[in-house]
Amino acid sequence: MSEKMTTPKSFQEIILRLQNYWAAKGCAVLQPYDMEVGAGTFHPATTLRSLGSKPWAAAYVQPSRRPTDGRYGENPNRLQHYYQYQVIIKPSPPDLQDLYLGSLAAIGLDPALHDIRFVEDDWESPTLGAWGLGWEIWCDGMEVSQFTYFQQVGGHDCKPVSGELTYGLERLAMYVLGVDHVMAMPFNDPQSPIPLTYGDIFRQTEEEYSRHNFDGADTAQLLRHFEDAEAECQRLLDFPPEDPKSGKRIIMAHPAYDQTIKASHLFNLLDARGVISVTERQAYIGRVRTLAKKCADAFRLTDAGQDAEVGA
C-alpha cells in the first residue's frame, strides 16, 4: 500500500484515483455501458464476460438507475441515478482482498486509522439468474463496497470463478469527503475557477426523473415496450449462426442481451409506477431471467464466451 494516503478533494478525484489504481493493477479501464441499467453488474463486461474460461480483467464506472429510489433530490443518501464503480477479474486472483484494500488506501481510507471489516453478504440477482458468495465491506460501520465471488451467471456455473467488486461511489465519497448530504458534495475541486457540487449537476435531474418515474412514465407504453424487448431478444437469438452476407458464424448474443437490459429497466420503471402487483412481480422477474439465461447460452457459443483451448 504505497499509494499516497492524502484525502481526495472531490467526487471526481475519487473516481480518478480508482481508475488509476485499477489500471496500474492491470485492469482494462472500460467506459460505462451506453444503456440504462440498474447496477454495474448488468454491463456485458461483467455478466457475459464472467462466462467461459477466457481470462478477463476490467474496471469501469457505471451510471445506474433505480427508479423506485427517486426522492426528488431531497434525501441525503438516496438517488434514482447514481454511480457504481465496478471491477471484474476472471479468474479471481488469490490476493483479491489485498488488492481491494489497496484501492481503499488509494482513496484515503487508511486501515491504520479505520476499522475495515468483511461482513457476510450472499449476493443473488434473480433477474440475471446469478449468485455468488462474498461480503459487504464495512468501513467504520458503513457499507462501502460489495465483494462477490461469482458462482453462477445466467444459469451457467462460473468456471473459473470471477471476483467482482462494486463500490457505491456517492456513499463512499461522502464518507471520504466528510459530507452529510449528497447534493452538497464537491464534484470537482472546490478550489476550481468554477466549483461544482453534485447538486449543481444532479439536483434538477433528480427532480425531473423522480416525477417521471413516479407519475410521468406512460405505463401502457412501458408495458408494450417490455413485450417488444422480450420478443426482439428472442427473435435475434433465433437467427441461424451462419451470416449469409459475410459467410461468418455470427451469433447476436450482445444485441440480444441489450434487449434483456431494456426489459429489466422497463420492469423497474413499471415497478416504480406501482402497476405491478406482488404476485405479478415474480412473473416479470422470471421473464427477464429467461432472457438473461438465453443470452448467456448464446454467448457461450461465441468466441469470447467459449472455454479456452487447452494450453491457450
Partner: protein, 737 residues
Amino acid sequence: MDLLIELFSEEIPARMQARARDDLKKMITEGLVDAGLTYASAGAHSTPRRLALSVDGLSAESRAVREERKGPRVDAPAAAIEGFLRSTGLSKDQLEIRDDKKTQVYFAVIEKPGRKADEIVAEVLEATIRTFPWPKSMRWGVGTLRWVRPLHSIICLLTDETGARVVPLNVDGIKAGNTTQGHRFLAKGSFPVSSFDDYVIKLKRAFVVLDHAERAAAIWQGATNLAFAAGLELVDDKGLLAEVAGLVEWPVPLMGGIDEVFLHLPPEVLQTSMKEHQKFFSVRNPRSGRIEGFVTVANTETADQGATILKGNQKVLNARLSDARFFYDKDLRVAKAGMGEWLDGLASVTFHNKLGSQADRAARIVSLTREIAPLVGADLDLAVEAARVAKADLRSAMVGEFPELQGLMGMYYARAAGMPEAVALAARDHWAPKGPEDAVPTDPVSVAVALAEKIDTLTGFWAIDEKPTGSKDPFALRRAALGVIRLVLENRFRMSIDRPLDAAVLRHQIGLAPSNPELLNEILGLAAQHGIHGAPTRNLIARSEGAAPSWLAMVRDHDPSVSDDLRDFFHDRLKVYLKDQGIRHDVIDACLSMPGSCDFTLLVNRAESLAAFLKTEDGPNLISVFKRATTILLQAEAKDGVEYSYGAEVKFAETAEERALFDALDEAEAKIVPAMNSEDFAAAMAAMAQLRAPIDAFFTAVQINTDNQVVRRNRLNLLSRIRTICSGVADLTKIEG
C-alpha cells in the same frame, strides 16, 4: 503426541462459526478414532479468518490388527474362491489351507500393520476439508475445491518429545505447513509455530485472540466497563455477543452516545436499528430505562484510540436514526389522525392471492373476534376495536423498514391514537405466541384477537388446500396451530374449537365480497356458537331462504370434510405438544376418542389425570383387569351375537365376591358420575381405582362361563357394567401394556 490444525481462509461468516468448530472437532477426532488412533482431548477454535483444532495425547500409531477369515472349501467352485479373494484382497497363493471337519478349507490371514499417525492425520484432514458440511460453500479462482470462502493455507503439525513436524498434505495445491498470519492490519507477514501453545501465544502477539469464548468475554467485560464508567448499563444480548465475537480477531469496544434528538424514539426501535444494521450493543440509563448510548466493537487498535472509527460509526448511526425518526414522526401523524390512511391502505397489500388483501383479512379477523370474544371473556367492543386496528401498522413506514417491529409499533401507534390500553396491547400481542418459547398473552382482548388471527390463517389455507407437507410449511401453519393450542391451554379457556373452525372455514369457502355480508356474519356468528346444525342457526337459515343470497346453499349443505381435516391437524399438533410435556401417546389417544376432544382444556385435564392415575400402583392393575373383563365380554358377545348391556341383577349373584363387586360398582358409579359431570377426572379415576381389588377378587373366585345360562348372562352383564363405567372416563382399550 499433539496435533495442531489450522485452516486459514478469507472471512468466515460469523453465524457459521459455532457449527464449524463442532463439525471440525467431530470429523477429525472420529476419523482418527475410526482409523485406530486414540487421543486424550481435543478443542476447536475459530476467528473470522481461521478454524483451528488441537488434539492432545494422540497415539503415535494405530495398533496392528490380525484378522483370520474362513473361506470356502478347497474343492469349492472357482467362482466362490474368486469371490473370497476379492473380498480379502489376497491372491490364491497367500491363502492358507487348513483341515476342517474332514475337509480342507481356505483361510485368509490378513495382517494389518499399525500405521503412523502422520499418514492417518493426513488422510482424515484431507477428507474433512473435502466433505466439510458448510451451509453454503463456494469455488474460487480456477480451482474446484469448495470451502466457505477461499482457503489460503493449512497448518497440520504433529508435536512430540523429538520436536514438531509438518504432516505432508496437499489439497488442490494448498500444501500443509507450519506458518500462519496474524491480524490483517495490525500484524505483518507470516510466522512459523511449533505447537498449539506456541500458536496461541504468537497469535496473541500478532493481535489475534484465538478463542471465541475469550473474545466474547473480553467484549462483554470491556463494553460493561465502558457503560459503567458513564453511569450506564449494557443491555444483555447473547446472540449479538456471539455474532460480534465472530466478526473480530482483536476486539476493541468503543462507546458512543445517542443524539438527544433521537431519544424520544421507542427503545425497541433504537435497539433494533442499532443491532440489525450495525451490530451495536445498546446502553441503557438504569434510572430512566432509556437507551442512551451504544457500544460498537472495532477489530483494530488505532493511533487515535479509535476516535476516527467512533466518529464514523456515530455518523452512520445518525443517518440510520434520522431515517427512523423521519418514519416515526410521519407514522405518529397518521396514528394520531386515527390510522385511517393505514386501514384504507391495507386493501392494497396482498395477503395471499386466493385469500385476498390484508383488508379482507382484517375484516374476517373482526368477525371471528366477535365470535370468540365471549368465549374467552373479552369485552366485545374492545376486542372488535383491537381486531380492526391490529394489522394497521403493516402500512406504517417503520414496519416497512423493520418488519420485525410489527405489532410492537402497532402498540405505540394505538397509544398515540388515544386508543384504550387493552387495544394497544392487543396490537402488540395478537401475533403471539410466535414460537414455542414465546410467552402467551393473558389479557382477554389480546387473546381473542390472537386466536382470531391464527384461526383465520389456518382455516384460510385449509380452505384453499395449502396445507403443510413433510418439512414444507411455508405459511408456518404448524406454529399457528400450536399457538391456538397454547392460547387455550395456558389460559385454561373452556371452549370447543370445532364450531368456530366450521364457521371460519365456511367464511373462506364463500369467498371474498359476499352479498349481504351482515346476514352472513349473523349466520356464521350463530354457527360458531351453536354449530351449523344448531337450532338457532337452522332457524335463521330457514328464515333467510326468501332473501336467498347465493352463498346460503353452501351454509345449508355444509361440507364438513375441510374442518374435520383441520381438526385432525390440531389433534396431531396437540399430541406433539403433550408428548413434549411428557404425556404418553397412548394416554393421549385414550382421551382423544372421548367426547369433547375439541375442548383442549378438558382434553388435557383428562389426559393429565389419566397419566397420573397410570403412575399409581392401582392404575396399571386396573387397566389389566379392565382389559381382561372386556376381552371376555367381547369374546362372549362375538360368540353369542348380542351386546351384553341389559344390566346385571344382584339377585343372581352366587358368591360373596360377586356381590361385593355389585356393591363396589354401585359405590364407584355414585362417585364417578358426579365427578365426571363436574369434570373432576382425578376424583373419577380415584373412584375407578377402588374397583381394582373387587374385580381382582371376582376374577379369582368366579368362573364366568358356567352351565347356568342365567348366571352366565348376569355375569357378562356385570362385566359390561365395568366396561361402561370405566369407558366413561377414557378409552382405556387404547392404553398399552
